[in-house]
Structures are given as structure tokens and as C-alpha cells.
């Protein structure tokens, strides 16, 4: 399968954030609606705003390494998003960037991603099952690690991670929230997908999209 593999270079990371920004914009209203159900109806707007800033920053100052892309994106999210998701996603990417060793292999990517997820868990003090983004991120990190162990190529590994994150997000539906704003609802949080888990699935999903290079981008705004 080696012929199907890709290079995890600076361009790949830039393309990742560009696809994330595009995808989140497409799903902006759905994320707002998920947050309206068990939160305060701003998650889609928050991320959309933050990611266009990320894109603008990356475009204005072409970074020269994957580390720079990640740290810059994370910093921009922290500096521009606010709310719970700003610091959490900011830490995800900053910690991931700091853990990355060039040149980036899939194993290196997986380890760095895991470091990012651990940073999110630490900062938010959330564990899997608390009905947060952690419920999508942890399975994604695990899927990446397994793929590395099994010698799977990057595009396939990213696809597996994307599916794991999506399954993780969907699995938040029956949970009762213990962290974040949704926890105020107690039992009434059951039956709704966590917006942060949903956006995490989009973020991880973009990895596969970019890696496969297959997806038709349906218009860019």
C-alpha cells in the first residue's frame, strides 16, 4: 500500500486546517443547533470565527514547518475563539505541535495527536464518557495508534481515525453530561449529541479528506 501513502509536510498541515475551516463553515448551523439543545447555541459560530482567523493567519504568514502550522493555529484559536472550545482546541493543536518531531511520520503524527488529546483532558478535567469532545478525540487517538501498530498507511489510518471520532461523537447521544455547559441539564442532556464531539469528528475527518485528496469541495466562502 506504500504507493498510496502521502507526505505529512507543511502543505499537508495547512491543507488540513483549510479543510477544517471549510467543513466547519458547512456544518456551522448544525453545530449551533446541537449546542442550542444542550448548551448556548454558539459552538458553530465560535469555531467558524476562530477557524477563519486561523486560515487568515496561515495565509498571511506562510509557515515553514508542520510545528509552526499547529502552534500558530492553536494560538490563534486560544486568542480568538473564547468559550470552552477556544482554549481546549487551542491546547489540542499547540500541544500537538510541541510534541511533533520533524520529519513527520504517521507514528510521529499519532504520538503528537495523542499528546494533544491528553492536554485537552488535563485542561478540561474531562474523561471519556463525560459527553465532551474528549469522547471523539480519545477514540481517534486510539485508532491512529492501532493503525501505526498495524503498519497501515496514512490515508487509511486517517480514515480509521475519522470513523472512530464519528462513532465516538455519535456515542455521546445517550450519555448524561458531566462536564461543560451541558452538565447543567442533568438528565435532560441525554439524547443529544455533544457539539464539541461533533466538531472534533469534523476535525479528525478532515485528515482523511485531505489525505485521500478525493473529496469534492462543495464551494468555498
Amino acid at each position: 500500500m506504500e504507493h498510496l501513502d502521502i507526505t505529512l509536510d507543511t502543505a499537508f498541515f495547512v491543507a488540513w486546517f483549510e479543510d477544517v475551516a471549510r467543513t466547519v463553515r458547512l456544518h456551522r448551523d448544525r453545530l449551533i443547533e446541537l449546542d442550542a439543545a444542550i448548551g448556548d447555541a454558539d459552538h458553530g459560530a465560535n469555531l467558524d470565527r476562530g477557524l477563519s482567523e486561523v486560515r487568515a493567519a496561515l495565509a498571511g504568514w506562510p509557515p515553514t514547518s508542520p510545528i509552526q502550522v499547529l502552534v500558530s493555529a492553536g494560538t490563534t484559536l486560544i486568542r480568538r475563539v473564547g468559550g470552552a472550545s477556544g482554549p481546549l482546541y487551542g491546547s489540542l493543536f499547540r500541544s500537538m505541535g510541541k510534541a511533533l518531531e520533524p520529519p513527520v511520520t504517521l507514528a510521529g503524527f499519532a504520538a503528537a495527536f495523542d499528546a494533544g488529546v491528553v492536554a485537552v483532558e488535563r485542561l478540561g478535567k474531562a474523561a471519556p464518557g463525560d459527553k465532551t469532545m474528549v469522547d471523539a478525540l480519545v477514540p481517534a487517538a486510539r485508532a491512529l495508534a492501532l493503525a501505526v501498530r498495524d503498519g497501515v498507511a496514512a490515508p487509511e489510518a486517517f480514515a480509521l481515525a475519522g470513523r472512530a471520532a464519528e462513532d465516538g461523537a455519535r456515542a455521546t447521544v445517550p450519555l448524561q453530561a458531566r462536564k461543560g455547559r451541558a452538565s447543567y441539564l442533568g438528565g435532560r442532556s441525554v439524547g443529544h449529541e455533544d457539539p464539541g464531539a461533533a466538531s472534533s469528528a469534523l476535525i479528525v475527518g478532515s485528515l482523511a479528506t485531505v489525505a485521500s485528496g478525493l473529496r469534492q469541495v462543495p464551494g468555498d466562502t
Binding site: I32, A36, A37, I38, G39, D40, A41, D42, G44, A45, N46, R49, I78, R79, R80, V81, G82, G83, A84, S85, G86, P87, L88, L123, G124, R178, K179, G180, R181, S183, Y184, L185, G186, R188
Partner: protein, 326 residues
Amino acid sequence: MKKLINAAETAVDDALAGMAAAHPSLRVRDRVVYRASGPRAGKVGLVSGGGSGHEPLHAGFVGYGMLDAACPGEVFTSPVPDQIIEATAAVDGGAGVLHIVKNYTGDVLNFEMAAELCEDVEVASVLVDDDVAVQDSLYTAGRRGTGATLFVEKIAGALAEEGAPLAGVAAVAAAVDERSRSFGVALTSCTTPAAGKPTFDLPEGEVELGIGIHGEPGRTRVALASARELAGVAMDAIHRDLPLEGDLLVLLNGMGGTPLMELYVAFGEVESYIRGKGARVARSLVGNYVTSLDMQGFSVTICRLDDTLTRLWDAPVETPGLRWGR
């Protein structure tokens, strides 16, 4: 959605520009609202902040006897660390700065990040978590900060104005939070400019009990009842958690869209409830102070006063949202 704005994206900045134009006592720079008079040497600085949409909280409480700076975020979205760092540095008069933080994950995380980066300033933080509608637990996000924020800002602000040291100001802030409890009821949902439609559907004839100030749905939904019954539900919840006794400070707060006339009706019911428990409304505020955009509904916040807190509550204050004694 009908909003008196130019565009959802500019609403926060446009409102801040309007605030600056309306209040020469304020200065607005980079999404931070300061006293125009600047920091006072030797005085502890007070910084608060949070999502926009709760006006007059917090920016309307910047001024003599209350906050030194407020950091407004996007609507219902906590501010970012940059704003808080900037504000903290600017208001430090050498005696340190108190961060007054409502207990929401976003607010807590952003203020924590900021505090860590404020290396040249001594920073203390107080967490406001007064909402008894939320179960308090080590394993959850804990109680929300709502109406008690106003009490904390006013009382800590008065002590800071007297020249008390940071530890003292932080201690009184924590004491006010400890002695305060709130409960809110929504008659309608709010509509955020970004979402463009009501956050939740609340049919004619129903109300949400135990709501927060960000359009979060409440704990339960019941049939619309009289002001007396709804005030009773709120007061029962508070009284169960913190028995009403002695002299009380009472905020009967509108959620933004409730006319003052109705708030007075509800206050009358709260006051008789309190009298019925043998306690006394020693001080009170009735009005839209800690709001949730255009939501109709109310919240009650009770603080058990002692002599010090009463004195500090009565101390002069001069802000756009709260003013007496000067």
C-alpha cells in the same frame, strides 16, 4: 429574528462603541472597557468579564466602587486571554488585581490561561457559583455564576476602593459568593444574533425552571403559573440550599425582556415569602441587571448580609448600571 443591530458579526463592537459614546466615564479599547480615570495607585484592581448579552453586566459595572475593567466576549462566549491579560496589566495600581470569574468552563479556562500569563501582576481569582438549579458536585462543572456576580463586584469593589489589600478583597468576594444563592425562571427563550432563532422552543403556557443566563435550557419545564407560584418555586429552591434568615440582600433580576412592572409583581411575592420565613429584605434591587439578551423571565438572588457586607453594599458606587452615593 428581529434585532436592533447592524449585523450579527458587529453587534458586540457596535454596542461597545455606543457605550463609549454614552458614558464619558468609560474608555473602550481592544474589547476592554476601563474607567476613563485609569488605575489608582495602591488600589486593588478588579477585572471581570464574560460573554456579551448580559448587559449591564459586566461593562455597565465599570466605575468608582465597582470594576476597574470588564472584558466582553462574543455573545455568550467568554472573553479570550488576550483581553484579560491586557485589562489586568492596565488596571494594576501596584496592589494586585482580582479576577471575578463566573463559573463556566469557558470563563474559567480563559481567565486561568490569562492569569498564568500575567507575570508582572499579582493576581487573585474568585469564582462565582451561586445557581442552586445546578447540582453541585466535584465530578461536574459545578454551579453556574449568575446574579451573585453583581453582589461580588459591588461589595469587593467597595472594599478595594477603601484601600484593602488583595487578600482582603479576594476574601470578601469569596464570602459574598458563599453567602449567595440564585434561581432563574424563563417565560421565553432568548435569540442569539448568530443563531438567528430562539435557542429553545418554549410553547405558550409553559415555563422553564432553573435556567441559566446563556439560554441554556433549565432543569424542568412546567405549566405557566402565577408570579406567586413561580416566585415560590425559586425561593423554595434557594431556601432549601441556604436557609433564609436575618438581613437579606435581594436581587429580583429580569432576564432582559421582562417589563419592570412584572418584576415588581414578582418582587412583592419574594418579599412576602421572605417575611413568611421570618427573615427580612434589608436591601434590594429590582431590574434587568444580569440578563440573557431578550429572554423573558426572572431570577432571584439572595445574599445573607452581615454588618460589613451591608456597609460595603451601601458604599458609594458610580457606574452606568448601578449608582448611588455620588
